[in-house]
Amino acid sequence: MPPAAKHVAALKAALFVVALAPLGRLVLGALAFPDWLGANPGEFIDRDTGRWTLRFLLATLAVTPLRALTGWGWLLRLRRMLGLFAFFYGVMHLSSYVAFRRVFDAAEIARDLAERPFMTAGFAALVLMVPLALTSTDAMVRRLGARHWQALHRLIYLIAPLGVLHYWFMVKRDITQPAIYAALLAVLLLWRVAAWHGRRRTARSRSPARADAGRTGPLTGV
């Protein structure tokens, strides 16, 4: 049985608070509890916001498979917030890099983007998220029309791999962590490929008569 509207609203409010917890930890750590961020707080914030961006991207991509597996249609109502939090932490991640790591040195930032492909990949992923964030309102969905909106939001299939790639090439030597994100992403994307394949096959097997008619049509016309 689908949950009542007020339950979904409560769930969304809870998700909102939970999704802000990582930011809360960083802010409290920066202002009051330095031990939380350790010896290299700038780098901690860099990495933490980057990982939360990827986690929210994966969570966004997990909604459709989870809905299909569980039948919980209301999950869809959480997806927009998950996507917007991915964008939010992505912006935090970029800001942390610009402020803490590059101390607003525009020439160095330009060099990073031009000469280091994995930096370009990360930046491109964030830039591609901008139109998705801008078109996330109900009004924009209506204005674009469902079909165009959906086509645009398929950009996430490019954004998420770019993000994981960015992480993978960033680590110095031990690729365990990025490999975990890559594996999760692969599962989420392969599920879609399998589901699409399955739909095509069902569609074909359901209309054998039409297929036969098509094949025999010309002959009978002779």
Binding site: A30, P34, G38, A39, N40, P41, G42, E43, I45, A99, F100, R101, R102, V103, D105, E108, R111, D112, R116, F118, F169, M170, K172, R173, D174, T176
Partner: protein, 319 residues
């Protein structure tokens, strides 16, 4: 009728007369305290006030003219944030896991192109005349610290084994205790960890074997009981927990060169003009600063002492 006595002061709240009469003295002392404290720290070199792990103290440690007077990085940061891949690749892995490493008994075999190969027990190494060396440490990951090491110049040890004329390089091999070093189960690097220096780099007075930190013996996570410290090179050149030193004729192949030759060269001198292929080396974060606001210095600021070692060499090629 109720009469309140408004200004009743408890006996305990009143300043005793003899303290009251010395109030000016107290104020002067309070003002002088921090100044005296700072002066005391300067006078004694290592920050005596810093809270340490309370390991065995090293006595009779001389000061050195090679020490920097920059503010020290806190002991807790030096001992909880570092790379020691034998224990894992996260910065807090060494502090969490290195306790298991066996550091006694400990010997360092010194061999190869030498007239008198010899194995030193750790007690013999601790008996060398010890000095405090407050050095900058610049990690290849673009963070830096200021660390009060205690140790002795490597050349003093080298003299005892009499390197031959064929000794052109020195190879340093770190301990490998797979049962105590969970990081060595991952194929992140080839174990044991191997580092190397050219003979003139090794014999330079800035190159030390460190046995202590902040007045005490080295904590395991920082490379106990004896490690190399080469302050003008990226931190990974300073091999930890050294068990073998070989004087050799050919340039050793180091662990990081083997793992990623285009990223980590044999020399690995700190050089803001030669970027790591994946990140800039122009700036650094001085722990625990949020911002990478320090401009990295060529040879980590030790150019005056070491630049002559590389006269005529193309540092972009020999990175």
């Amino acid at each position: 009728m109720l009469i309140r006595r408004a200004n009743r002061i408890a006996h305990a709240e009143v300043t005793p007369r003899r303290i009251y009469e010395r109030r000016r003295e107290f104020l002067k002392l309070a003002a002088a305290g921090p100044i005296l404290g700072a002066a005391g720290m300067l006078a004694h070199g290592a920050a005596a006030q810093e809270k340490t792990l309370g390991l065995a103290r090293l006595e009779g440690v001389a000061r050195s003219r090679y020490s920097t007077d920059e503010p020290l990085t806190a002991y807790r940061h030096v001992t909880t944030y570092n790379n020691f891949y034998e224990f894992g690749t996260e910065k807090d892995d060494p502090a969490r896991r290195a306790g298991r490493m066996r550091v006694r008994p400990w010997t360092v075999a010194v061999e190869g192109e030498v007239a008198r190969p010899r194995t030193f027990g750790i007690e013999e190494l601790l008996a060398f005349p010890l000095e405090e060396r407050i050095y900058r440490l610049r990690c290849v990951e673009a963070w830096s610290m200021v660390i009060p090491w205690i140790g002795f110049e490597f050349r003093h040890l080298a003299k005892l084994v009499e390197p031959t004329s064929r000794a052109k390089f020195v190879e340093f091999v770190s301990a490998l205790q797979p049962e105590n070093m969970p990081g060595t189960r991952l194929p992140v690097l080839e174990w044991p960890y191997v580092e190397g220096l050219r003979i003139d780099e090794a014999m330079h007075p800035l190159t030390i074997l460190a046995v202590g930190l902040y007045g005490e013996v080295l904590p395991n996570q920082n490379g106990a009981p004896v490690r190399l410290v080469v302050p003008w090179k990226y931190g990974f050149k300073s091999a930890k927990s050294v068990v073998r030193i070989r004087f050799v004729e050919r340039q050793p192949l180091t662990s990081w060169e083997k793992a990623a030759p285009h990223e980590y060269g044999f020399y690995s001198n700190v050089n803001p003009n030669r970027d790591h292929p994946r990140w800039s080396q122009k700036r650094e974060r001085r722990i625990p600063d949020f911002f990478a606001r320090r401009e990295t210095q060529i040879f980590n600021g030790y150019g005056e002492q070491v630049a002559s070692l590389y006269a005529g060499m193309d540092l972009a090629k020999f990175y």
